[in-house]
């Protein structure tokens, strides 16, 4: 089966007086249904990696296939369409439109992907039910709590039925209790078969995934670690428990030879 994400030697260099090699020679494969977390300190290239995966940016080297499709030579128009179809974004700061209802916000992800108007509402309702917010569908986003907002954001991403749910620090703006409930929701979605890629700097969050990859200085190292606990519904697992049961090997970021990108 075609992997959802297939990166081969992907790099991203920002031109300038002194070119910045934000990402170097990244290889990463994510199969359908996987729950992968990406960790790394600030300035490590996480954001660049996220933008590349999310088709918000194009690599300067290597190949990147999403569902076997190469967006490299696509025009802006087709890349936008591919992004809307395949990627569901969940942001740290939620990015809801405050003066719109939860339902409206959820529907937004289908506005640009050609879903018929009548179907959007039905799918948005289903998605809101899935995240447990059916009772809040007419509430304005600005009146929702942080946890509720992130759930709406997740519902919005789910409603478009993406190949990949791309979460950028999904619990970064939440308190620990709400964060735990959002992480449980992600676990449930994983159990439902959703492919998840969560970018975080929180090792606790990172430990919830089946696999964790580490970015440091623009290099991505894949630790082939798996939590022994089976993914799926069950008692909430704390990141700490998972992390202790899966000790991380040291990151293996080999120095890149000069001149190689």
């Amino acid at each position: 089966m075609t992997p959802v994400i297939d990166m081969r030697g992907v790099s991203r260099t920002f031109d300038g007086p002194s070119p910045v090699h934000a990402l170097r020679d990244v290889d990463l494969t994510i199969e359908a249904g996987e729950y992968v977390t990406v960790v790394g300190p600030s300035g490590s290239g996480k954001s660049t990696f996220l933008n590349l995966v999310g088709l918000l940016d194009t690599p300067t080297g290597g190949t990147y296939l999403i569902d076997g499709i190469d967006p490299a030579d696509m025009g802006e128009r087709h890349r936008s369409a591919l992004r809307g179809d395949r990627i569901g974004f969940v942001f740290q700061s939620f990015h809801l439109i405050g003066h719109r209802s939860a339902l409206d916000n959820t529907r937004l992800s289908m506005v640009y992907t050609g879903v018929p108007r009548a179907e959007r509402t039905a799918r948005a309702r289903t998605a809101l039910r899935r995240v447990g917010l059916s009772h809040r569908e007419h509430a304005l986003a600005a009146t929702l709590s942080g946890g509720e907002r992130q759930r709406v954001a997740i519902a919005r991403a789910l409603a478009a039925r993406p190949s990949l749910l791309l979460c950028d620090e999904p619990t970064g703006n939440l308190d620990s209790t709400t964060a735990a409930s959002v992480l449980s929701l992600l676990d449930e979605l994983h159990a439902d078969g959703i492919t998840l890629l969560v970018v975080t700097h929180d090792t606790g969050v990172a430990a919830r995934g089946q696999r964790t990859v580490i970015i440091r200085d623009g290099c991505l190292s894949e630790g082939s670690r798996r939590c022994p606990a089976a993914p799926g519904p069950g008692p909430p697992r704390t990141g700490f428990r998972c992390a202790t049961s899966c000790p991380k090997p040291p990151p293996a970021c080999s120095p890149v030879p000069a001149g190689r990108r």
Binding site: N51, G54, D57, G84, D85, I87, H95, H99, S109, Y112
Partner: protein, 396 residues
Amino acid sequence: MLARPGRTALTGLGTVIGITVFVATLGLASTAAGQIGDRFDAMTATEVTVTDQSNVDDLPGGVEPGLGEDPEKAAMAVNGVTAAGSYFVPDIREPGGESAQGSLLPPGPPGTEPAGVSVDVLAVSPGYFDAVHARLAHGRVFDSFHEENTQPVAVLGRAAAHRIGLNGVEHRPTLFVGRHPFTVIGIVEDVERHPATLASVMVPRSSAMETWGAPEPGMGENTLIVDTRMGAAQQVGDEIRVALRPDHPAALQVQVPPDPRTLRDGIDNDLTGLFMALAVVCLGVGALGIANTTLVSVIERVPEIGLRRAMGARRSQIAAQFLTESAGSGFVGGMVGAALGAGTVVVVSLFQGWGPLLDPRTIAAAPLIGAGVGLVAGAYPAWRAARTEPAQALRS
């Protein structure tokens, strides 16, 4: 856009003001022009005046100045003429050099104070009374019999009769103009043109010429007043020169009323041009307002733009969204402005006592103009919005 009525209203305010001025000025221009047209006097519009004022030295040899033989008859032969009458002011100074006095009694012996009052004397042809639309208070006017037979009769204007103290003509009173007696046969109550008539003593031309001498030709003393049918004045003015003086039409000076349509159109164009410039300036200010508000809105909504791009929106769709919003607020502003402008025209007309005139096409076009202004004003902000990089927009 609908979710934020306050902002939409503010955004559209510039257009509202611009369109209000646009509609109001157009409406007021047409209303004012309509008034000018209405006030344009029907009497003025049907009056043609012919004088023999021309420089005698300019005339070629052998050409006589003057209105020609029997100007009344010649004028009446022109199609569209309903009445024609000539008059001149006779030189009635007495040998002593003093101007003549009109009185009901003969003046006293030379050296004594005349017992009368001073009035003007007009030598008029019988057609004159019809030409000025004279209405009689007493008696009658003189006719061609008096003219042809040099009868010493007089018709008084109402004011002249009042000054002399004459209330009726039943007893055929005799009026002395200087030392010359005239029998008063009528008093004119009112005229519709040449109001000097009312303060004058009118005598037949032949009598005046016999008493005081003929008018000096070419000095503009001989004037023909021609009453035409409505709308015929221009044409009559063209033809009457030739009718009166086929030998030398240029000897005459013809005054025709300005063509009312030309006059109205001229005023319309002048005013409308001025007001249109004003309205365009206002629309420009409105457009700047929309552009500014939309630009602020774009900057404020950068995260939303980033989000929409992440959700698969193309650049063109983002641009279209902002263009739609600015055009929409322009459209709404245009509608509100059209209503306010029409209201302004009505209110101003109410206070001025005018009949409001407003072309419905102006009202119909206003929202479209507003939308167009909004579209133009939204172009730059929309371009900015479309250019927004989603990756950076989402970071905020």
